[in-house]
């Protein structure tokens, strides 16, 4: 299975330019799964909820259409972030789209900082999506700040995810190292697609930390992107590795759990 990510530098508010730039970065690559950053086509900072609403779409919108076009071009299932308009609300979501159409989506359940003013928090449980021609690859979508809650990767792994798709707009330096722990503690692949660049808008001044990465279930980094350059990487993985939850010959990471002694209300 060939999996990868795109690390881009979106122009705030200019979807069409960002689609073109992502298409250029993709070139003629082929893959089975490609992850794009959170809000990869809108940029991160919004003036107000009016602007959020204006840039929002449903699953017939231009971002899902663009992901569909790229899925047909690359052969890959594409996962990328956008502002979802649904149920009269705006969510910070990802769409998962294959050459056959929409596979599924996820609404970010842990909003970061000012996002709480812009978006409604995700209102559906964490869930996994089956992708590939045989529907035998299981991905678990999460978004950016979800990384800090160990319950997210754990839930997705317990639901059967082989690969966590982690669409991100990271500004703090902690996440990339933490994702190694997320891979190890769940024996899953993690693909963090981060953005680069800086946004100064609405009184905020944010610099994004790049360093998108792919980690395998042994905690080994298979790919790491530069801090400040647009980038794409696609690597071959053996997804079966994520089915083997033996941390040692005598320790199965899931069977060894002792939920009756935890306190996780």
């Amino acid at each position: 299975m060939k999996v990868g990510y795109i690390q881009n530098y979106p122009e705030n508010g200019n979807k069409e330019a960002n689609f073109q730039q992502v298409e250029k970065i993709l070139g003629d690559r082929k893959a089975d799964l490609i992850v794009l950053p959170e809000l990869f086509a809108t940029g991160y900072i919004f003036e107000n909820t009016d602007e959020v609403r204006q840039l929002s779409e449903d699953f017939t919108g231009e971002t899902t259409q663009f992901l569909y076009k790229m899925a047909r071009k690359t052969g890959a299932t594409m996962v990328g972030g956008f502002v979802e308009f649904g149920e009269g609300k705006a969510f910070n979501s990802v769409a998962c789209v294959s050459a056959d159409g929409l596979v599924g989506s996820y609404r970010k359940i842990h909003l970061y900082g000012r996002e709480k003013k812009w978006f409604s928090p995700g209102n559906k449980p964490l869930h996994v999506l089956e992708i590939g021609e045989e529907n035998d690859w299981v991905i678990g979508p999460m978004i950016c700040f979800d990384w800090v809650f160990p319950e997210v990767a754990r839930s997705l792994a317990l639901l059967g995810a082989d690969i966590i798709t982690h669409s991100a707009n990271l500004i703090l330096p902690y996440c990339q190292a933490a994702m190694i722990t997320r891979s190890l503690e769940n024996r899953i692949f993690t693909i963090t697609a981060n953005r680069i660049g800086r946004e100064q808008k609405a009184g905020l001044d944010l610099s994004f930390t790049g360093k998108s990465q792919i980690v395998n279930p042994n905690g080994e980094i298979l790919s790491t992107a530069p801090l400040d350059e647009e980038y794409i990487d696609i690597v071959e993985i053996d997804v079966e590795l994520a089915h083997d939850k033996q941390f040692t010959s005598m320790n199965h990471l899931f069977q060894d759990r002792r939920p009756q002694f935890y306190h996780l209300r």
Copy 2:
């Protein structure tokens, strides 16, 4: 509050020699909390359950007595590992002892590898202990392989732990980095007291990885020990830092949790 750890090289099976060595490492240090490794006075490898039984003790035994003596000498609450005999079984436990006597204990709930042949798994829920003259410092004891289960540190933090005491006999290279994530994701202090040296016995050949460490709630390493030397370090911490669960001004790590959307059976 002054907290620290001892990193020792126990002689397998020779408790008296190990007590003397730990007393020598302690010297005339004073502190409020000192964490010792898992099984710090027995060594790690056992020939069989007869030997485990022979080295086991209850809370009137010589290890608890030694910790009591050291608590009176240092002024610190001492947390250290031993083979606990209780309910007709042997547990891989820590005792927590102050100058006033036994504060509490913890039986390791996630046994690693061959330990499953030597010990019974802990049969009580994760819990915290109040220490200090005012009982206002809250510690959460865990042992070695517990680190890989994010539920352990999370449970202890949700129960109110300011500091996780992590008595360990680590042989793999992953834990020290993971404990930075454990501190960050829960905004707690973590003190990992690891051992050094090598044991060849009963068909096993294990080298322990040292690098005991203290991490603060911001994920900053306050102390790190050498790979292969006996060591002690005591640092001053502001325990209040662990009461502040704001990851950002708009993100409270516990209040932002969305348990209704997790899948943690």
